[in-house]
């Protein structure tokens, strides 16, 4: 299947600290790609590089055949994104915030109502965002990413701050999106339990390095081969991370 996002040797260094280390990933069109890793693994930094928020130190990537920064505007026109925490104008209502995004994307007025409905914020649309709860801000951030049905969605831990019911609701929504909107989703999380319920493919990142990339089935096969029960993928994930951490420590000692 054709890759809609592909990176080659993508690296980001902050002085002597390497946040993302020669990352090469492939995200297939029309799939949900779970980007997994412990806190500080480099997931957000990778997503920021894909969106042009952070300049890579080295390496390259293509999104739907286009390159950053040359095709920045064209790339961003195709991507709906939600990075780390929701971004909003606190002086505006939820509806007004989405209307700003709608104006920039040149969408119709009804798109705002549609997306408010989709994330369950319709009745709070006229409330100032500074009076929103964290969960409501999170939903607004998600609405800002979904508005206009973009062909690519980049979502960085979108269920942070949501209550269990909200997590369930948003997870189900994300799962339905590729069929509803014919889109590709890259979603990050530090919980495999969260990702395994929705993702087709996953990439596991630790200290900026890609430890595994493949389908859920391949991950299960790998787990089985290593003697880990395939119904306990969380253990598989932790084991991969721990082995990598151990090897890093060994290298550091040497």
């Amino acid at each position: 299947m054709e890759s809609i996002i592909s990176t080659r040797g993508l690296t980001k260094k902050y002085n002597s600290f390497t946040s993302v280390n020669k990352l090469s990933i492939n995200i297939k069109r029309g799939t949900i790609y779970g980007f997994l890793g412990p806190n500080g693994a480099g997931k957000s930094t990778t997503m920021k590089m894909l969106l042009g928020l952070t300049k890579p130190t080295s390496g390259k990537f293509r999104i739907d055949g286009k390159k950053m920064p040359e095709d920045r505007i064209e790339i961003l026109r195709e991507i709906g994104s939600f990075i780390e925490s929701p971004s909003y104008y606190p002086n505006l209502t939820g509806r007004e915030n989405l209307d700003i995004i709608r104006s920039i994307l040149g969408l119709k007025k009804k798109d705002v109502e549609e997306v408010l409905e989709l994330v369950g914020l319709s009745e709070f649309g006229d409330r100032l965002v500074k009076k929103y709860s964290l969960g409501m801000k999170q939903r607004l951030g998600l609405a800002g990413a979904l508005i206009g049905k973009p062909p690519i969605l980049i979502l960085d831990e979108p269920t942070n701050g949501l209550d269990p019911a909200g997590i369930h609701e948003i997870r189900n929504l994300i799962k339905r999106l590729p069929k509803m909107y014919d889109c590709t989703i890259m979603i990050s999380s530090h919980l495999l339990s969260e990702i395994e319920l929705i993702a087709d493919d996953i990439g596991i990142l630790n200290h900026g390095r890609l430890l595994f990339e493949g389908s859920m089935e391949e991950l299960k096969r790998t787990a089985k081969a290593q003697g880990i029960k395939d119904d306990n993928l969380e253990e598989m994930f932790l084991s991969m991370v721990n082995v990598d951490n151990y090897e890093r420590m060994q290298r550091a000692v040497l």
Partner: protein, 239 residues
């Protein structure tokens, strides 16, 4: 693009601050003249010079702080909810965003200056003796004071873009005002590189004559800070 920026600025008070400054400036002019009019006109100066230079000092102080506050607000709304991060990942030119903010503030500041000078026009027409009021001098002085204020506007907008903390921006503005005030009467031409000193020039002069050199310096500084701001806005990284 300007329409979009105006939508974003709703409830921030950016345009209101500048409009109120215009009204306050006009009220100050009228009140001051009604109280001190006779003693002002008794000064050994041309009536038009008295009308323009003796009342401009306080107006200028109002304008400086209005520009500091307006430029701070226009970017603090972008930073307070991290909205600017969203702007950077939308298909929009951040240069155009910056330019729109600049144009909105400059337009509202022009409205404010016109309101203030309308009060001077009214005093000139009604209070000065026949033949003493010169409309051309008033217009020239209005343009002069407007243009010499632009470096502060341009500089402060750039500062507001650079610093995410609004208090830092306000601090830079106050420091600029105080240092400008302290050095305003200096004869050293090099000090005109300080945008606040350029704005203070008409207020420290005893005549309403327009100083072309000061205008040229003001325009160069305005354009230089504007270009610098545009470059920074395009290359700023939001982490």
């Amino acid at each position: 693009m300007i329409g979009l920026e105006l939508k974003k600025e709703k409830r921030t008070g950016v345009t209101l601050v500048l409009f109120i400054t215009g009204i306050l400036g006009a009220l100050y002019v009228l009140l001051n003249y009604s109280i001190r009019g006779d003693s002002l006109l008794a000064m050994p100066m041309k009536p038009m010079d008295i009308l323009l230079t003796q009342l401009y000092g306080m107006i200028m102080v109002l304008n400086v702080f209005a520009l500091i506050v307006a430029t701070s607000l226009v970017y603090s709304m972008e930073y307070s909810g991290a909205a600017i991060k969203k702007m950077y990942i939308l298909p929009i030119s951040m240069c155009k965003v910056y330019m729109s903010k600049f144009l909105i503030i400059i337009s509202m500041f022009l409205v404010s200056v016109v309101i203030q000078n309308t009060a001077l026009l009214w005093i000139g027409k009604t209070e000065l003796s026949k033949g003493e009021f010169e409309i051309v001098t008033l217009i020239a002085y209005t343009v002069y004071t407007f243009l010499t204020s632009l470096p502060v506007l341009s500089f402060m907008l750039m500062i507001a873009l650079i610093f995410e903390n609004m208090w830092v921006v306000l601090g830079v503005g106050v420091a600029g005002f105080l240092s400008g005030l302290a050095l305003a009467t200096s004869k050293t031409e090099l000090l005109l590189i300080h945008p606040f000193i350029v704005m203070f020039k008409p207020a420290t002069a005893m005549t309403s004559n327009v100083n072309v050199n000061t205008i040229i310096i003001a325009l160069i500084e305005t354009i230089a800070f504007l270009i610098l701001g545009l470059v920074i806005s395009q290359n700023k990284r939001i982490d």
